[in-house]
Symmetry: C2
Subunit: 220 residues, 2 copies
């Protein structure tokens, strides 16, 4: 549960350690509550109460509700960059790179999905400039996956798959984990990560013997 410590460390490189801890706790709590209730349904009072402050006291640490949201999403994006994209960039083989992307992204979500889920669900709560910033970084991520799929296609391992559609579909599969995965569920985090990774790879690799089993095009 120390997921947001780095965010605060990055946000404030000035003051003493006590303030660091307090601010980190605020970001962490806010992420958890935004995740559970949604950004607009969460009041500043909710967050203040969760960290044992009054609303006015909370404002000593934060600039406003929207800044809080932007900081959380920026942290999530940083996490994605550092834990998923950068490690994957160092993997040359396209299939292994794709496995790295999916497995690492999925693992982040099973570990702590709050910030990463807010990142995709609360975009419209941001100011236009902030939103453009986050959307740009998200697009870079999807492009990175699409490029990897294109490389797989150039290797002949993939036929008839649009890289962009493929990238979006894999991302959808991964992000959805945060909606159904429960820490206390039947499968543990590693099992879920392995299962989803296997599905993702299987989804993009070509099967020579694939044929449709029926015609789903008939309309009702």
């Amino acid at each position: 549960m120390t997921a947001l410590d780095n965010a605060a460390l990055r946000a404030v490189a000035t003051a003493a350690n006590g303030e660091q801890d307090r601010r980190a706790e605020i970001y962490r709590s806010a992420a958890r509550i935004f995740h559970r209730k949604g950004y607009h349904a969460t009041s500043i009072n909710d967050i203040a109460a969760a960290v044992g402050l009054t609303k006015a006291g909370l404002y000593y640490y934060i600039k406003g509700k929207q800044d809080l949201l932007f900081a959380i999403m920026g942290f999530a994006m940083d996490q994605l960059d550092e834990q998923v994209i950068e490690p994957a960039r160092r993997v040359q083989d396209p299939q292994a790179r794709l496995e790295t992307i999916v497995a690492r992204h999925a693992r982040l979500i099973t570990q702590d999905s709050s910030a990463l889920t807010i990142l995709v669900n609360e975009l419209e709560g941001l100011l236009p400039d902030d939103r453009a910033d986050i959307i740009g970084r998200q697009r870079d991520y999807v492009d990175f996956i699409a490029d990897t799929l294109a490389a797989l296609r150039d290797e002949g391992k993939v036929v008839d798959l649009d890289p962009t559609v493929g990238a979006f579909s894999l991302v959808g599969m991964i992000l959805w984990i945060s909606r159904w995965y429960r820490t206390d569920g039947r499968l543990d985090g590693d099992e879920v990560v392995a299962a989803v990774t296997r599905m993702a790879i299987s989804a993009v690799l070509s099967r020579g013997d694939y044929t449709s089993a029926g015609n789903p095009e008939e309309t009702g």
Copy 2:
């Protein structure tokens, strides 16, 4: 854009046709605005203005904001039942049934994603009883897909895939379409539906020659 006509038809089986049309327009507008801005960020005034009424005038047609949301989600669930689940139930072969489910659900989303997207994104805006109702129906849908995957496994077409994880992953892939598909984009709706359906089937069918290309388990 007549997606919500049936909702109003079902909701009010009483009055004249003029009222029907007006109410249908309200539900349709509300769905579109909830979809674009989110439920909590949408005010009753926004909806009233969109249909050319004042707030008080709107209340002649609706009972309240939460009822509006529940009606929209109920309509989306009805759509899913009628356009996806019922047709798929009549398909015996498991692979063909899965193709039917994915293709039909994906097509609904490419045609009009408003209500179906609200259905999954705004659950916490509902009253507890309403939420339990919707969640139950959603669970039935996932179970239906999981049962189909289990049948595929019994046929030997699928190995090593947990039906529940598989069902959730496919649903995630499908629902995510509403986030990236644009009517005026590079691919048209049918192409997107075909591409996603092919990926979905490929994701769950076993490949005898599948091996991991690398080890994504190394941690950073």
